[in-house]
Symmetry: C2
Subunit: 221 residues, 2 copies
Amino acid sequence: MTSSSLESLGPFRQLSEGSRKLLRRGAVLVQCGPPAPILQPGQSISGAYFVVRGRLRVYAIAPDGTEATLYFISPGETCVFALNSLFNDLRYPAWVQAEAGTTVALIPGPVFRELFQKEPSIQDVTVRALSTLVFRLMEELEEVHAYKLDQRLANLLLIHASAAGELAMTQQRMAAHLGTTREVVARLIREFVAQGYVETGRGVTRIKNADGLARLIAASA
Amino acid sequence: MTSSSLESLGPFRQLSEGSRKLLRRGAVLVQCGPPAPILQPGQSISGAYFVVRGRLRVYAIAPDGTEATLYFISPGETCVFALNSLFNDLRYPAWVQAEAGTTVALIPGPVFRELFQKEPSIQDVTVRALSTLVFRLMEELEEVHAYKLDQRLANLLLIHASAAGELAMTQQRMAAHLGTTREVVARLIREFVAQGYVETGRGVTRIKNADGLARLIAASA
DNA sequence: ACTGCTGTGTAGCTTTTGGTACAGACCGCC
DNA sequence: GGCGGTCTGTACCAAAAGCTACACAGCAGT
């Protein structure tokens, strides 16, 4: 992998100095066609990850088999889950899954550690990445305990919908994201449809009244 | 505050090099008698915190007023909540409260940033602290979605009980910790008493059968 | 002893969420 | 067209958790 081909990638140009340095040194590109599992709990980490295109989903699986998304890692973000394990010699405690068409740059552990020692810009990138992750996790934890499922579902629809107000996601996946079951999602969506907030189709949900959803989320009860 | 008096403090001797360097440079000790709020959401951070004695509790408050503990910071740990805001110029999104008898060392923001640039040992301390926090938050998030309240309460009792199997904590505080209400805690504890797992007293809960509680937690249902 | 405060015990009801079960719709493929 | 798989719709019941209301117990101060 040369730096020129890396630089030809879309988001690369907007990256910080630290991120570019990371990628120029020993990064190996990994492409995913279909959604694919990358890490399982207990697996040791072979390096630091950097999302070039697509998205990674980090999630937990309960003993009864239900999933729940912990957080996402979007393009241009250093993949912090690796850093934890790289520095603390801990096993990673969650599953990681790449969405379809995701490209990930893998920086070998020793290379990353060496760069982290020498380069202030890479320290900066690292701390920012961890810091952002902490915020994201705190937000998620707060959301889980402060909001009811209908509000969290409304939020999911608003946040993840395309500009055209469409969300291409099955109810099964929404349920997995929220840590609940498909039936519950279907019931809540039925209510949204009755209120005229959304329309449903196979594998897609269209938002018809974003304000209505927003008001639902804001309602304190 | 001189380094000699800092070193006289109990946990100080076991600290890492980075932590000691942090404390020798411009740390201001802050003592708390009774439990006291330290930070409120939106408050900007004046420096990095380091817990010398006692414990900090970081928690969220839902619109309806119920609290939920996000994580604790124990003695000898760099207080990472500050680092987020120090590096990202973000406001801190949660409340922080010091338990009774807590001593916190406050390192001014500029001093910390300067040390972070120069000292590898301080970079190390910082990354470890953030990393640990990420793990703690992930664990908590997983627990919230994978376990029921009775299991989480049993876990709370086991984790926070003294060596003698006593937990000096009112049910109100347990409820705030778990993000629920006192009545629910009372109901669950009643069940524990009926099973012979615990005994209750005013402001204290005594564990009589730790194995029973442990089995309850392990039960997949 | 009286009072007030804080903490616990309990009952009953409502809401929310989860679990089971099944019917039907859409889609691609042979 | 027929078939199998995936996705959605829905009805019903069960469990979990929250809400309200109130009684009482321990403790401190006057």
